[in-house]
Symmetry: C2
Subunit: 412 residues, 2 copies
């Protein structure tokens, strides 16, 4: 795990584990209970006191849910957002024309409440696919935006959750032109999590001064190496979305590649995305362990990503790790079916730091020591698969009885 963490440790930014989307200047967030869920918060919002530059990354699923379509179209108008509204419990997916209309109503009610234009409100939903939103509850939520008295940020972080066991958020501070710029993020998992996004929502905010096009570029690259490198169950949802808002309330020179602090900013955004992504993997439905697979020596980065994801996606690897069984043969199998460019004779695998495969041939190892290491919460798998330059890291979790229990009766 040490290698994998180094990048973060070396970075110069300050990390605030209790921070979230409301940490940057001019951002407020909140959440409340409207009755979509039995008793938990189910309606959240983010508001920037000034209009923000916006960027978004969306699911590749062909059945894109109504709120995603609306948000994508809305951002396209001016490349801006000033607010985001999110509900949990119902995904507003597979809902046709009615679903689009419902998302539009949700958007316009919040816009009205905040006195901003409709297309400056992003809309997100998560939950069961194939049900209409109960619009009376959504309307109740919209009417109460900005009206809570306490726990603003914390309420938002909770309101967007479904089967997640804990809220996922972080903020970092980075120096830009000698000024403190903050990047905050909040996300939710935790089933249907797979490369190319999943039932996951991520919201990133910053008070940095940066144009939408640059924001999009940074977001895309950060998502590729974070949210797109986690998997819980291989299912990719209709509702995945990561939105990024930058309101420019810190007065520094506009950020682009020529800015001396550009790399620091990019690294900070990646750190935020990576931290949220790992939290999602760790909180995968029924998960008891975070699994990190690092692949090196692949033909190129795409192959490396494919292989790293294949390892953490394998049900057989996941159940073996759940049972704390050093079944490295399954790791090898997962490597072997992921890519045709793997060289078995140049393949080396370690599990929890102990070498288990050398040039494609199994090694004997200290079973006692392995058993001890497999009982830890963080399981590291590393695989060299050839002599290429491609490397990647993917995150996943074990597959437990509880995953089955949770998902055997999610809808009912």
């Amino acid at each position: 795990m040490q290698d994998i963490q180094k990048v973060d440790e070396e970075s110069k930014f300050k990390i605030d584990q209790s921070g979230d989307v409301s940490s940057p200047l001019g951002f407020i967030s909140g959440g409340l209970h409207t009755g979509l869920r039995k008793s938990k918060h189910d309606f959240g919002w983010i508001y920037s006191t000034t209009e923000a530059q916006a960027a978004g990354v969306y699911t590749l699923n062909r059945f894109k849910a109504a709120p995603l379509k609306l948000t994508q179209d809305s951002i396209a108008v001016n490349n801006t957002l000033q607010a985001i509204v999110v509900n949990s419990a119902i995904a507003n997916a597979c809902t046709g024309e009615q679903g689009i209309k419902d998302a539009q109503d949700m958007q316009s009610w919040v816009a009205q409440k905040l006195n901003i234009v409709n297309n400056n409100v992003g809309v997100a939903s998560t939950g069961v696919i194939g049900d209409f939103l109960p619009m009376d509850k959504i309307q109740y939520g919209a009417e109460h935006v900005l009206e809570e008295q306490y726990n603003y940020g914390e309420n938002f972080n909770k309101a967007i959750l479904t089967t997640d066991l804990f809220p996922k958020h972080v903020a970092v501070e980075v120096d830009i032109d000698g000024q403190k710029v903050t990047i905050g993020g909040t996300a939710k998992g935790s089933g249907m999590i797979h490369p190319n996004m999943a039932t996951m929502l991520g919201f990133i905010t910053t008070d940095a001064n940066i144009a939408s096009s640059k924001l999009q570029q940074v977001l895309k690259s950060a998502v590729d190496s974070s949210f797109n490198m986690i998997t819980v169950d291989g299912d990719c949802s209709t509702n995945d979305m990561v939105l990024f808002m930058a309101n420019g309330q810190v007065n520094h020179n506009e950020l682009d590649e020529k800015h001396p602090n550009w790399q620091a900013f990019v690294a900070a955004v990646k750190y935020v995305c990576n931290t949220l992504a790992k939290s999602i993997a760790k909180d995968g439905e029924g998960a008891t362990k975070l699994v990190t697979s690092k692949v090196t020596g692949a033909e190129n980065i795409e192959e490396a990503r494919k292989i790293a994801k294949s390892i953490v996606s394998s049900n057989l690897v996941k159940t073996a790790i759940h049972g704390e069984d050093a079944n490295f043969g399954r790791i090898v199998a997962a490597i072997g079916y992921a890519s045709e460019l793997v060289d078995p004779n140049e393949t080396f695998v370690t599990l929890c730091g102990l070498p288990v495969v050398d040039k494609g041939v199994f090694l004997s190892f200290d079973e006692e020591e392995m058993k001890k290491r497999l009982s830890e919460d963080n399981i590291a798998i590393s695989a060299q698969v050839g002599k290429g330059e491609g490397q990647a890291v993917a995150y996943g979790c074990d597959l437990s009885y509880d995953y089955v229990r949770i998902n055997a009766s999610y809808r009912t």
Copy 2:
């Protein structure tokens, strides 16, 4: 399910559910306990009294196990086989040079016992990856080939199993030139089962007169629509193989496309492969239900296969079916991430015969009736995904607590 079965029902051949690889003329099979497994049969063999034309289909996994490489090379010598030897418990994969040598010894001991040339013996292994074969036990097995006194076929059918709960075998009789030709098959599952083969072994035998090249052609096409359309857990193994032997002991005109009974022969082989494949899916590790997904209207057959497999591969669909929960949204999600060519507005889905999605929009359905149908052992999903000509059927199973239990401690 009716549509899906029609092809079989319409066919003219006679089906023998108790038949197996020993059913065709001149084939004998057997199995015994050598100590590879605690008490169960673990060593099996098939023998043809005369040399047979041979064909094989092998895993695409880059980490191909030693016995597969040896068998492929052996068949390449003369396109023939006269015997096949199989052990369970240990896969002889990731075993390098030593593994190749062990597979060669296993082959030559059996060849010696049967007084045939080495390259006429196919070798297969299934079980744990990353362990050497205990060669004393293999040698004991080889010395006892052809020496059992009873239950020959039945013993073979059992000897090749690992976590399978029941043996999988069938035979059919088909009329060729007015003579009775028999095709028999035996297979094993039951974890690591996924498109492009898996820890599955299939053996098909026939007394038909047909050249190796034609046999290969028939086998490839039958495997593509049967063994390659099942999935248990998405993992594709290092040891998958289907072998086909034809000893020509029935005296009819050699089979090729011009033979008037060619189509009947092809249909019979497909029936055998399909029956074995469905048995494997139904006996997936921990499975309680067989899931059949039929896709129509896809752009082409490849897309149809991709989508049909995606549905039965989805952990979320599989757990919902295990819980008898009509979570059709997950079916839609699995369709949507499988193919970019799906048309949401032309997508219609039925679950257990009840329409649940119409033009991409969910439908309400009789929950009582659905609950009743979901409690059955066979679950049918059908999806029209556009207006194309592509269609395919895939088979899978539910994902249960028992899958996790079985796989959390397979190695130890």
